[in-house]
Symmetry: C2
Subunit: 410 residues, 2 copies
């Protein structure tokens, strides 16, 4: 017997035909004694349609005062898909029951539209599983201590599924998606990218942080916390995907690095000719933090020791650029900087792997691969299990391919 | 200060423009110290759209096995309208909060899609009212003892509003509808019909039972139980409507009868030439009861005392006719009846009024009015506060007008 939580996203349940297909697929794979929980998102465009309704009331429905009501509105999306999927199971003769996030005991904080799961009390789910039912659960939602509906932030349905799997002590959490697993690089860019059989939570987190889009970091963190294997696999095929877990079970999957990640959502800001006095860095970065802008790579270089003048260079998300420019222009005036430069044609390429700790030459190999591809490195940053290089955005494809070849050629 | 529950139906909140208009109207009438609870139905066609989705899973979504999931699906309809109405109040600067049936503490039995309210625990509503908020509540729904959503039967939103008004000890429950009150007869048929200022629960119940469609009997019963005045009024005007209450407050509204009701949803079945032996009636009517068919008027007449042969004539709802015919044909064979006749062109006209108890001539006056209109009476039945006559359906308009003239001419 296995207890498995399976998560299907909005595109997998976009129509009633697709909902019937999901039910059929699950029943086709189910052994009689298996206990199954299915977590689903809202059908295809439902969420957009609900937001459009709210815009009929106010053009800006995400104002702070509206957020609780937006959650009341948006949670109906999953409530529709769960009821239809439960009916689909019943149509095929399988007892099933749908439960909202609140009914499943998903307790969240009260940060409406960006909630975080605090706790899950899966008593009702266990009760229904023990009656032989498939339990269909609304992803992306829970309820706060008042009992008010709260939707989770980006990637919230994955988080619901993994957290529920943890609370149920499930054998595995399967995330069905439009790709068939985690690859050693983005297969749309690198033709020779390999699907991994396994990857550790830590590596997956680092890959996600560095731009690999398949899983949101939050879900991987929750999987890690509960130590639940997360199986990322395709909605459209039966093939085994990639299992994210604590440690490898297979010796032969060992590589120096696990994958090459990249991120195009990067912009660079350089503040040149700054007096190198104590507190300058604090002034700049606390102003950005106050504007809720995350800074990624930071380099400070002493240009002229005599005059004690420094340059401050850092990267942010491209989407934060116009806001950041405003903040920095103000600061630059205050601190008497000579120039502020903005560069949008940048991207980040990274290698990730727990194996690199014991392999000193890994970073050098990466730099060599970039040099051979004629790619200049602008900034370098490292963590315990990753090395990242900021490069010209227009050279990203060559860079990723060259680095991937270096580590994954046979 | 007044605590008032106001109920708006689906057509009043069919679009976001209409939702904004409802909010504006309520705020326009609200005194600063008033406490207001608004009960709303699902927007216009939402329920039909949700049912269409369910039909995408199974052509017969109202099979018993699906009913719980249908409730999970259908309760989203009101959840959408309450969130939008709460946002509309906030847009106009009025603090407001939406609550589902379950959050309001509407406890129901577990008869999915046809639930009955067992109890209401309005703690959360009172809490929010005391914070100065308008509370927007999802009508037509509650939750059973498992916490599962349950929709109420026909007229359920009215029932929600009246029951909530009762639980809150409200001063009044206002039902906003597309007519501006209760009339002494259907104004579409009787041009001189008068709007009543007041009517008692008992009379309104009898009117509803005898075909007056404005209020469902269940809501009136609940109002009677809690002794909450129900004010039936128009969504489209500010005029006072009709108040349903325990006893009249105004002497001058006294008439012998309160109104003329009529019902076209009637069919007549006659079983002729039945042996008049004990148990025959029981056989016929228990067979109908087993098929869940309600019988209204019943007449048994001895045709031939010598042969001890009787005729059994009764009326049912027209919509039950084909089912009833099948049941009766079987019984007729068993009991050796000579003929079964079915008559569809029938209708019922009734007068209702608590005043008739003390006025012996009331029934005779009604029969006289029908005779003058050339209307033949087929069956007569009476209750303490009503007299009903079965007549030809094609003569209904003349009949209702003549009876109404008799009692309401100046």
């Amino acid at each position: 017997m296995a207890l498995v939580v399976k998560k299907f996203g909005g595109s997998s349940v976009a129509t009633t035909e697709k909902i019937l297909a999901v039910a059929e697929r699950i029943l086709g794979e189910k052994k009689p004694e298996d206990k199954i929980v299915v977590v689903v998102s809202a059908m295809g465009d439902t969420t957009d349609e609900l937001i459009a309704l709210a815009e009929g009331i106010d053009k800006e429905p995400y104002k702070a005062t509206y957020l609780r009501e937006m959650d009341m509105l948006l949670t109906t999306g999953e409530q529709i898909s769960i009821s239809l999927l439960a009916m689909a199971f019943q149509k095929f003769g399988q007892a099933a029951i749908s439960l909202t996030g609140s009914m499943v005991g998903v307790k969240t904080n009260s940060v409406h539209t960006k909630g975080k799961i605090l706790d899950i009390n899966p008593e009702r789910v266990l009760e229904e599983l023990n009656k032989g039912k498939i339990v269909v659960v609304a992803g992306f939602q829970g309820a706060d201590n008042l009992g008010d509906p709260v939707t989770l932030g980006r990637g919230g349905s994955d988080a619901s599924a993994v957290a529920l799997a943890g609370a149920l002590h499930a054998d595995e959490c399967e995330i069905f998606t439009d790709v068939d697993g985690i690859y050693s690089a983005d297969p749309r860019i690198v033709k020779t990218a390999r699907k991994m059989t396994e990857i550790t939570y830590r590596e997956m987190l680092e890959m996600a942080r560095l731009g690999a889009g398949v899983m949101q970091p939050r879900s991987v963190e929750i999987g890690h916390y509960f130590n639940i294997p997360i199986h990322v696999r395709s909605t459209f095929s039966d093939k085994i995907g990639t299992v994210i877990r604590e440690a490898y079970t297979l010796e032969d999957t060992y590589f120096e690095i696990r994958g090459v990640a990249h991120d195009r959502n990067v912009a660079k800001i350089a503040i040149l000719g700054v007096d190198n006095t104590p507190g300058i860095a604090h002034k700049i970065f606390s102003a950005l933090a106050d504007a809720n802008i995350s800074v990624d790579m930071i380099v400070q270089s002493i240009r002229n020791l005599d005059k004690n003048i420094t340059d401050m260079v850092f990267t942010i998300e491209k989407s934060d650029l116009s806001m950041a420019k405003k903040v920095i222009d103000k600061i630059a005036e205050k601190i008497n900087a000579s120039t502020v430069l903005v560069e949008e044609d940048v991207a980040k390429v990274s290698i990730v792997g727990a194996g690199m700790v014991g392999s000193p030459g890994v970073a050098a190999k990466m730099f060599g691969a970039l040099a051979r591809a004629g790619v200049n490195i602008d900034i370098i940053s490292t963590s315990e299990i990753s090395v990242s290089c900021l490069i010209k955005g227009s050279q990203l494809v060559e860079a990723v391919n060259s680095v991937h070849d270096e580590f994954f050629r046979d």
